[in-house]
Amino acid sequence: MNACHDFSLSGVAVSALASGALWLPEAQTLCVSDLHLGKSDRIARRSGFLLPPYETRATLDKIDQLLEQLNPRQVICLGDSFDDLSAAESLDETEKLQLTRQQAGRDWVWIEGNHDPGPVELGGRHVNELTLGKLVFRHIAIAGSVGEVSGHYHPKCNVGRGGTRPAFLADQSRIIMPAFGAFTGGLRGTHPTLRSLMAPDAIAVLTGKHALPVPFAATT
């Protein structure tokens, strides 16, 4: 069984990893989307519910594992990296240190998301979107674009009676990435928005223990 699924987008080789990250072997670029760091803090601030404040740690630990395995030259965080701009300030010293260590020696790109529409006081460069050869990285997919890698929707799909799992959606022109953050839910792949964005021959790559490609149309 597969720890990743290889395919190509606009002729660029990509690999959808079981962990929910995207690996571009040629450019040595690792892309993760929708980290939602500081989510528990934002929920506590806004609603009073005091969720376990460990999602930042859990998400960063997952990134640590990937950095160790792949040693990428570049890391792209595809937007909604922080649950909101104040959440970015709520990171504690240990977490900030962990993040700084991860950024050391590589190009770290924060792409703007709808949750974090401005720069944060952390290392790395901050852009609206990023073009890398034939590919463009942005937070929210734009209908009609090609070679586009985006996030935002947190797609999740179900096959048979296996239960829903976060999934990549991919067709000839785009990839929509699953959310990588620990405390993130998902939007069912059956949602009309996702169905209309993707071509009829799109695939979904279920994540989890294994990366499992399946025709998107066959998921429920």
Binding site: P25, R45, L50, L51, E68, A179, G186, D201, V214
Partner: protein, 828 residues
């Protein structure tokens, strides 16, 4: 003796009634701080409870609220309001009676707080909400009495704990408050009395005349009960005949699914078109109300029902109760039988219908227990801490409080009398900061301490806390309706809905419907004329047979002969004794035999369904590690059967208590039951938001599964209060490890292993049982992988995919990937 005031005496005389002795007792003891009345249904219990209130209010001196009445059912509150009006109006008393439940309008609720009635009828949840308001002290200042109806049902669940905590609060607001509990027959009245009274005050228990013993029998049919299954379809003609012979029959079932199937079969056989209805908790409120109204009008000859009719409105005309399937618990049987013939001093009539051969034995055991008045029940543990956390938040909503005061108040509640200060402080800390070990919420605490008093940091939080009040677990259910219609038919569990594919047929409300699809969290179905549903139906609760009843069955097995059992069952047990042996209480019988090319092993543990299921999971895990290749198992109330590739040779080793306990710890952590329990407790404790239908409907990305929270806590904060609570709850509830311990203690390593070359008589029914559980794990992953591969191949998408030219990776990355991943395409 307190004499009845003249106007009351006149009213009784006009009706031709005499005051019942227990009603007089209640009047005589009206000044007691706590009183518990045990009375059968139909014994004028409600009037006994209210008589002192009416007498006190008749004097006309009292202003504001005098008596709070709390019942587990909204419908009961409304019914009591109607029934109380009769004496009040006929005596011309100026008493205002109102109910307040989730169904009461917002205007009415507001008015009730400003100008409360003399008698307020409510539910534990609505009371908790009232207690959370800032004006609670003013509203309850003059409160004299609180009447807790059907207290036996409430104390069995967390609703009772929540109610008693609210009572503690009310007692502080109205120190003269007197408490009255009304209960059906129970095995341990002292325990209920203790939970009702302010600790450590005594509570007098008054017993009404229980009336004559019920007339209970097992239904004798020409046809023999089948070897396995729970439907009792064989008994349909005999049950219909009984319905014909009686005025109104209640036909109780242990599960909703069985009720649906039985009702369906009943109609197929109902050639006389007798009016028969169905009533259970998964039907829509409209449906249930329709059936209740028909019942009240006397339009129905029978109602097929479940526990949803265990309590509630007095159905005067019921003259027969039929229990389909063995009553797993004698106390519940007696209470159900009490639903028949509510006229005082007339014996209730009931028939037990065993659904299969083993249940014949269970029914006989239950009959003997009922005759011997040997009621069962498990002692209740200490007050659950998740409910306490909710109570702390409710208290904070009403206003600032001192921790010492609240601790004193909480420990005045019987169930929490032994709560240590440290335990209390942990709960308070959890409410204030979340109580996390590794990272604190400094800025966004929920509760803060100012000048020695705890209060909400953000007063707006009251809204969320109030929305979350209650301890009833919302199982995730989806509404079912006909396509193109807005009228709901009922609800099914989300898990069941997820297993349906368009075209599947199932039963709901006695109808066969065809699943069409899911639309905005509603299950759409169409009418279907099929005779047999494809899929039985949703699950519903399965009761485990009580410890006491199983001990009685094991005692029966010691007899030389069983003259009171029907011949077919008698012969069966004799045959088992010849071929193998009958299980004994102080030994575990293990039988091994081959069947269908698989090695089968049956463990007769007699620990109840939940515990036997847990045992099955533990044993198969041990067998897996011993290389016995178990493939699956099945659990019933009395046995667990495991099948696999290899024969078990040393079953005693599997039962080594230490190994079993160790395995249990590891197993428990990753278990789905734990996650389910965590969600329930975390919701009650106010850690996560109640799963409101409107928020689920949107399916937004923002909502995520509580399983993620559970996993995160296990990883980063394994000693967290919520995990402690979850463990306690799971052990008591679905996991039921307590009964496995009980089994290990009573058998103490004495294992008898019987090996035969074919299935034994006692094991034979197990081969026919449904509910087989395959051993999960990597196997499940493989199944999904196979399915995705098949779909990819079938769609031809594999061929379109152009495999990328393998680019060079940085040396380190390449090596890492090679070692960590099975780097491959879809084609193996």
């Amino acid at each position: 003796m307190t004499a009845l005031p003249d106007q009351f005496q006149d009213w009784f005389s006009r009706r031709g009634w005499d005051i019942h002795p227990h009603q007089q007792d209640m009047l005589d003891r009206a000044a007691d701080p706590a009183l518990l009345l045990i009375a059968p249904t139909g014994g004028g219990k409600t009037l006994a409870g209210f008589l002192p209130t009416l007498v006190e209010l008749a004097a006309g001196q009292h202003t504001g609220i005098h008596t709070l009445y709390v019942s587990p059912l909204k419908a009961l509150a409304a019914d009591i309001k109607r029934n109380l009006r009769t004496p009040v109006d006929e005596m011309g008393l100026a008493i205002r009676i109102e109910d307040r439940t989730g169904d009461t309008s917002a205007t009415q609720k507001k008015r009730q707080r400003a100008d409360p009635p003399h008698i307020l009828l409510t539910t534990p949840e609505s009371l908790a909400l009232l207690v959370s308001y800032e004006d609670a002290p003013r509203m309850f200042a003059g409160l004299q009495r609180i009447i807790v109806d059907e207290i036996h049902a409430l104390t069995e669940s967390k609703r009772g704990d929540q109610l008693m905590l609210a009572l503690g609060r009310l007692q502080t607001l109205a120190p003269g408050l007197r408490r009255v509990g009304l209960s059906a027959t129970v095995e341990d009245p002292d325990a209920i009395a203790k939970s009702l009274a302010k600790h450590p005050n005594p509570c007098v228990i008054l017993q009404a005349d229980p009336g004559p013993d019920p007339d209970i029998n097992m239904l004798v049919t020409e046809e023999q009960p089948p070897w396995a299954g729970g439907g009792a379809a064989y008994a349909i003609p005999a049950v219909l005949e009984q319905v014909r012979q009686h005025k109104t029959t209640l036909i109780f079932h242990n599960t909703r699914a069985q009720a649906e199937i039985f009702f369906h079969n009943l109609w197929l056989n109902n050639t006389d078109d007798l009016p028969i209805g169905i009533h259970h908790g998964s039907l829509s409120r409209e449906q249930r109300e329709k059936v209740e109204a028909a019942m009240v009008r006397g339009d129905l000859r029978a109602i097929v029902c479940t526990g949803s009719l265990d309590l509630g409105i007095d159905w005067g005309d019921v003259d027969l109760v039929v229990q389909i399937g063995a009553p797993k618990n004698v106390k519940r049987l007696i209470q159900r039988i009490g639903r028949a013939n509510h006229r005082y001093n007339a014996p209730s009539k009931a028939l037990l219908v065993p659904a299969n051969r083993f249940e014949v034995i269970e029914c006989i055991a239950a009959l003997q227990a009922a005759k011997a008045h040997d009621l069962d029940g498990d002692p209740k543990g200490p007050g659950p801490r998740d409910v306490l956390c909710q109570h702390i938040l409710i208290t904070a909503c009403a206003g600032p409080f001192a921790a010492d005061d609240l601790y004193a108040e909480v420990t005045s509640v019987g169930a929490y009398a032994n709560l240590t200060r440290a335990e209390f402080d942990d709960c308070l800390e959890f409410c204030a900061t979340g109580g996390y070990a590794l990272r604190a919420y400094d800025k966004w605490k929920r509760l803060q301490k100012t000048n020695g008093l705890w209060h909400l940091r953000d007063p707006r939080a009251t809204r969320n806390i109030r929305m979350n009040i209650g301890t009833i677990q919302d199982t995730d259910t989806l509404k079912v309706r006909f396509r193109g219609s807005f009228k709901p038919l009922g609800e099914i569990e989300e898990g069941f809905a997820a297993s349906l594919t368009p075209g599947d047929t199932f039963l709901i409300g006695g109808r066969i419907v065809r699943y069409e699809g899911l639309r905005e969290m509603t299950v759409e179905v169409s009418r279907n004329a099929a005779k047999k549903p494809k899929i039985a139906t949703f699950m519903g609760t399965k009761f485990a047979t009580s410890t006491q009843l199983q001990a009685r069955i094991l005692r029966m097995f010691r007899q030389d002969d069983w003259p009171n059992l029907p011949p077919h069952t008698n012969e069966w047990l004799h045959l088992q004794r010849v071929v193998s042996k009958l299980p004994e209480a102080d030994r575990i019988l293990v039988e091994s035999f081959p069947h269908d090319d698989r090695a089968h092993t049956v463990f007769y543990g007699f620990a109840g369904r939940n515990a036997m299921q847990t045992l099955g999971l533990l044993l198969t895990q041990r067998m897996e590690s011993l290389g016995l290749n178990p493939l699956g198992f099945l659990a019933t109330d009395y046995a667990t059967m495991v099948w696999g590739l290899d024969q078990v040779t040393d079953p005693a080793a599997l039962f080594a208590p230490e190994d079993l306990r160790d395995g249990f710890e590891t197993w428990l952590k990753g278990n789905a039951v734990m996650k389910k329990t965590f969600r329930a407790s975390a919701t009650i404790a106010g850690l996560i938001e109640r799963n409101l239908p409107q928020s689920r409907k949107t399916g937004r990305q923002a909502t995520f599964s509580s399983d993620i929270l559970y996993d995160t806590l296990c990883k980063y904060d394994p000693d967290h209060l919520m995990l402690q609570i979850t463990r306690e709850e799971a052990l008591r509830g679905l996991v039921d490890f307590g009964r496995i311990e009980e089994m290990l203690n009573r058998t103490n390593g004495r294992v008898d292993h019987v090996v035969r070359d074919r299935v034994t008589p006692l094991a034979a029914p197990l081969l026919l049982e449904v509910g087989r559980i395959p051993i999960a794990g990597e196997g499940r992953e493989r199944l999904i992988a196979d399915e995705t591969r098949r779909l990819m191949d079938a769609s031809g998408l594999n061929k379109i995919e152009v495999p990328p030219s393998r680019p060079k990776r940085r040396a380190q990355g390449e090596a890492a990937l090679k070692s960590r991943f099975v780097w491959g395409r879809n084609n193996p």
